[in-house]
Symmetry: C2
Subunit: 219 residues, 2 copies
Amino acid sequence: MEPRKRGAGGMSEQRRLRLRLEISREAARLFWEQGVAATSGDQIAEAVGLSTRTIWRHFRSKEACAEPVVMQGVVTLMRALRGWPREVSLEDHLAAELGGLTRENAPVDFADEMLAMKMIRLADTEPALRTAWLMACDQTEGQLRVVIGERLGRPDDDLEVRMAAAAAAAVVRVLDEHIGAAILGGADLAEFADARAVADRLARAIRTATGGLVGDPVA
Amino acid sequence: MEPRKRGAGGMSEQRRLRLRLEISREAARLFWEQGVAATSGDQIAEAVGLSTRTIWRHFRSKEACAEPVVMQGVVTLMRALRGWPREVSLEDHLAAELGGLTRENAPVDFADEMLAMKMIRLADTEPALRTAWLMACDQTEGQLRVVIGERLGRPDDDLEVRMAAAAAAAVVRVLDEHIGAAILGGADLAEFADARAVADRLARAIRTATGGLVGDPVA
DNA sequence: CCTTTCTTGTCACTAAGTGACATCCTGTCT
DNA sequence: AGACAGGATGTCACTTAGTGACAAGAAAGG
């Protein structure tokens, strides 16, 4: 645990998130390579070049170390949804957002997306990771409540808004699990390269789950 | 930790579940009274009259001790759904099941339901309990997949079945959180005494979330 | 340059969980 | 009834997750 490069004084929120992600990457890699139980906090700390104490300053538990990486699996979609203009349909907006992604402007690394899929796959057998995945989905549900709430002109804690957000988050999660499993299972990447098709699938799932409440342009 | 009454030899599955529930009750009570962090495994063990070691034999972690109680919050509904005949509509079946409940034949204690609500309320501020609640909902989602799968004549792992189950479980969860918060907040119990009204609410939410796929009688 | 503030490292410590082994309970076989 | 087998529990030693307290270093601002 030699004194490596330190954090900056007055650490910005962005820097904080980047550090969390960096730790999470190493943790996820170790979890995947040797299992969660066999990975110790000390190992994670050594892999990322920090003291063990600092790991626990940034994460409340070992499993929580996986959350930022796991979250990368849905962050692209959430970013797209947050910028959804009122006068555009869900299909069109998602197709435009997802179609406009290149390796440069992509908000998340492709490697991170693969890592996220691996964590979700691991979650099938490791209950500790299952909780991390569910917590990540819970976060996105909270963000969805805001998006849907302001789109419908209702408060976030409105019961219908909450149900719509929960249902939408749930189908997105299942779709995510399905696509991730397919890719890890060796499916052809090209199958998911058609932005329009993927956007339509997502949009239709969300429309269905919300009973048509979310999807159309609103005045 | 004096030697109190022991478990039976050749412990049946039912006995095992009862013991887990008993431990969970004490754990939940302590969590509610003094918080999760302030409650130690030793305290739980002493409260239930077992050795600490035995607690860890039945639960993989401290937070997991809350799961059985938390699960009581949805077990009544799940039991009703598992016995849903194909030729009956969701509204009618739920109304009949929920209406036929008395203090005697109720599958779960009223005290347990209150405890469950308290745990769910605690989950708002205690991330450890949030994971327990989400894991419990995840369990119900798995059971819902079976119910919906055989009702639709499709395998449990069919994508549409999974999405429908996830969406349904999500709205049920939100409704559960909402009703629980209302009751704990001092709402009139009588508001939820009308089985027909509650059944209709649940059924409508499930119909909406599944895009009408689940709810009608099937041939 | 100096101060203030924030983060990290070190170290001691509490508590969560596990392994191993002896013990005790209970159902079953004779 | 008495012996036996299987399983669950208690005890104890031990590993590891996670925290508190304090000193040291690094940036930002004057």
